[in-house]
């Protein structure tokens, strides 16, 4: 029986190969008191010496195989071993508390990791904490006499399965043999996912249980496009994935040619296909995939894992980098969107019975101007470095939009008064996620410069169903005529006032929705970077006029499944699958 694991798609592609489990045995640190201090200190010395020896070997190998940059990752740990501050503080614990060397190493490592985590300086890929954890593990392995897993021994093409992949692991791989990576933990921006993207290795992270569910040598399919791992696939599944892998390779080649092209339909209409981004590391991805802008810059990353609110200057320097990197392409920055399922340590929110219908997004911003004002000032200051636009999330009424806009105008005036340059004609718009706004879109359209349809929330609110709740998730139907009619209504209302409409939910990157959205005249499609070239390729092959009968029939269909069938038939008939 095959087994399916779900995780996050961190690097695109498909690989089929046996698993290589990179899991060490647990390193049990006995918390014991000792009487012979000198003996423990001598053991500590030995573990430092052995670790130094090993790291030198790893370093030289990494330097030979991967170059100076990879070797420096190991140098960090060598410098830590050579730093008397580290050794002395471990020794101090042994002597003053009379504890084992293992326990002392663990204590000191925990102490430093806590310091590194507290630092409010956006540690690049948590490199310091990772180095400390990695080094402590090596010291403990020598103290406990256990062997660490040794990625150097990999001598056949395999998919690496690990709890997490450390910098010394990556420095040791022979890249000829690594077909893909699967981890229990980790995020899309871990250092190894960035490396994997440049090597076109498929990666799925955050599966939570890969190391528990997969045995060494199990045949695996890593689907880095959809974030899935199939363990011991059936013949049928293998066949399916071989086809998918072949198609992926062909598509990559065809889509790659579209990277620097504009998205122009067969009848000459320009549609903007842009990226949703949430961290600085995403910029590179957006550029590599030929994004014609960033039409959703999620600013939450500046607030996550922080103990205090990010300052205006810190935010300014981040926004400036996005705006400058995208040249004259539009970058739409969204003000803080927390509440619902996203919580922040420094903005304590009361427990609510219905968080999705509660105190969130702009509702918090308007109630807590100490959060909204510095953010808007930072955005305004960044506006002179490119083409920045601003949007407010979860606006429900025209008063809310006007109130937010009033605050923005006040901050703009205050900056200009103190001589800080701010761009003219910054577009100010809003997310359209709440049905009340769709009903009033014609009147909102007089006030806003643009709408960005947040389809994920809009659909949940239209059907009154939480898509995260498995029992009602079937009601989340992107292609339902109710959704299409709402979108059509918003686009028509905006166009009547000469305003543009974008969409930044998952529907914008769903190829089945593309002909409908395009036919209804959506101006801008914003999605995860990996989907841009696919959607661009579709749009370039279609003609808006020829889509009208399909749009008309879909708007008048009774069910989502009827619409889906019509769209699939249309794509098939036009060789657009």
């Amino acid at each position: 029986m095959s087994l399916l694991l779900n995780g996050l798609a961190a690097s695109s592609g498909i690989a089929i190969a046996p698993a290589y489990l990179l899991v060490g045995s647990e390193l049990p640190v006995q918390k014991q008191h000792i009487s012979d201090k000198n003996h423990e200190v001598a053991r500590l010395h030995d573990s430092f010496a052995l670790s130094r020896q090993e790291l030198h070997a790893i370093r030289d190998q990494a330097h030979r195989r991967l170059g100076q940059r990879a070797a420096t990752v190991v140098d960090t740990q060598l410098a830590m071993l050579d730093d008397p501050v580290l050794f002395d503080s471990i020794e101090q614990h042994i002597v003053s508390e009379q504890i084992t060397a293992e326990w002392a190493v663990q204590k000191v490592a925990d102490h430093y990791m806590a310091i590194f985590e507290r630092l409010n300086d956006n540690d690049y890929l948590q490199a310091r904490g990772m180095a400390m954890r990695d080094l402590a593990k090596r010291l403990l392995s020598h103290l406990l006499g256990v062997k660490l897993p040794n990625p150097k021994q990999l001598d056949h093409r395999a998919i690496i399965v690990a709890n997490n992949i450390t910098p010394t692991d990556t420095a040791q791989f022979d890249r000829r043999y690594v077909a893909g990576l699967v981890t229990d933990t980790g995020g899309r921006t871990s250092h190894f996912t960035i490396m994997s993207k440049t090597l076109y290795l498929p990666v799925v992270v955050g599966t939570k249980k890969a190391t528990a569910a997969i045995k060494d040598g199990d045949l695996l399919v890593v689907d880095g496009i959809h974030g899935k791992v199939v363990v011991n696939p059936s013949e049928g599944e293998l066949e399916k994935y071989r086809l998918l892998a072949g198609r992926f390779a062909r598509e990559q080649e065809a889509w790659g040619a579209l990277r620097n092209q504009e998205t122009i339909s067969q009848d000459g209409r320009h549609f903007e296909v842009a990226a949703n981004v949430g961290t600085l590391a995403d910029i590179q991805d957006a550029q590599n995939n030929g994004a014609e802008g960033i039409v959703l810059l999620r600013t939450e990353f500046l607030y996550m894992n922080q103990t205090k609110l990010p300052g205006e200057d810190q935010q300014f320097s981040a926004y400036k980098q996005f705006v400058a990197a995208m040249n004259q392409h539009r970058v739409v920055t969204r003000t803080l969107d927390v509440g619902g399922d996203k919580r922040l340590e420094m903005v304590p929110l009361p427990h609510e019975a219905n968080p999705y219908l509660g105190f969130r997004a702009i509702r918090i911003g308007l109630a807590k101007p100490e959060i909204l004002r510095p953010q808007l000032r930072a955005m305004l200051r960044a506006s002179v470095y490119g083409r920045l636009a601003i949007m407010f999330p979860m606006v429900a009424t025209i008063e809310e939009f006007r109130q937010a806009r009033q605050i923005l105008d006040e901050e703009k005036a205050s900056l200009e008064k103190s001589g800080v340059p701010v761009a003219d004609n910054i577009e100010v718009g809003m997310m359209l996620e709440i049905p009340s706004v769709a009903m009033m879109a014609d009147l909102f359209a007089q006030d806003v410069d643009f709408f960005s349809i947040g389809s994920n929330d809009l659909i949940q609110y239209l059907f009154a169903a939480d898509r995260g709740n498995a029992r009602v998730a079937y009601l989340y139907q992107e292609l339902h005529p109710a959704v299409l009619r709402t979108v059509k209504r918003v686009i028509d209302a905006a166009h009547a006032e000469g305003k543009w409409v974008g969409m930044c939910g998952e529907m914008a990157g769903n190829p089945l929705a593309t002909p409908l959205l395009m036919g209804m005249g959506l101006d801008e499609f914003s999605m995860n970077s990996g989907q841009i070239l696919h959607i661009r390729s579709l749009i370039k092959q279609m003609n808006t006029r020829q889509l009208q009968p399909l749009v008309h029939r879909s708007l008048n269909a009774q069910t989502a499944s009827a619409v889906t069938a019509m769209v699939k038939k249309f794509l098939k008939e036009n060789n657009l699958e």
Binding site: V73, A79, M80, D83, V85, Y112, D121, S317
Partner: protein, 88 residues
């Protein structure tokens, strides 16, 4: 004693990699070299110290060197910072 102020312009601040390279550079000299940031000073030859400071982008830091080769030490550190893209 030699003393110089710097503004860190690198987006990622003095993260693990540049910290390692700075420590390597400073350790080549006999002089005492310190890095000060927000009222705290650490030995620039100690990677644990440098990494614990959490020097981010736009941080204003001061580096001092004192000893026989203080001038050379400070020049070398300044050059390393520039080469690593920490300063403009």
């Amino acid at each position: 004693m030699e003393k110089r102020d710097f503004t860190i312009t690198a987006e990622t601040g003095i993260h693990a990699r540049p910290a390692t390279i700075l420590v390597q550079a400073a350790s080549k000299f006999a002089s005492d070299v310190t890095l000060s940031y927000e009222g705290k000073s650490v030995n620039l030859k100690s990677i644990m110290g440098v990494m614990s400071l959490g020097v981010g982008q736009n941080a204003k830091v001061t580096i001092t060197a004192s000893g026989d080769d203080e001038k050379d030490a400070l020049d070398a550190v300044a050059e390393t910072m520039k080469k690593e893209g920490l300063t403009d």
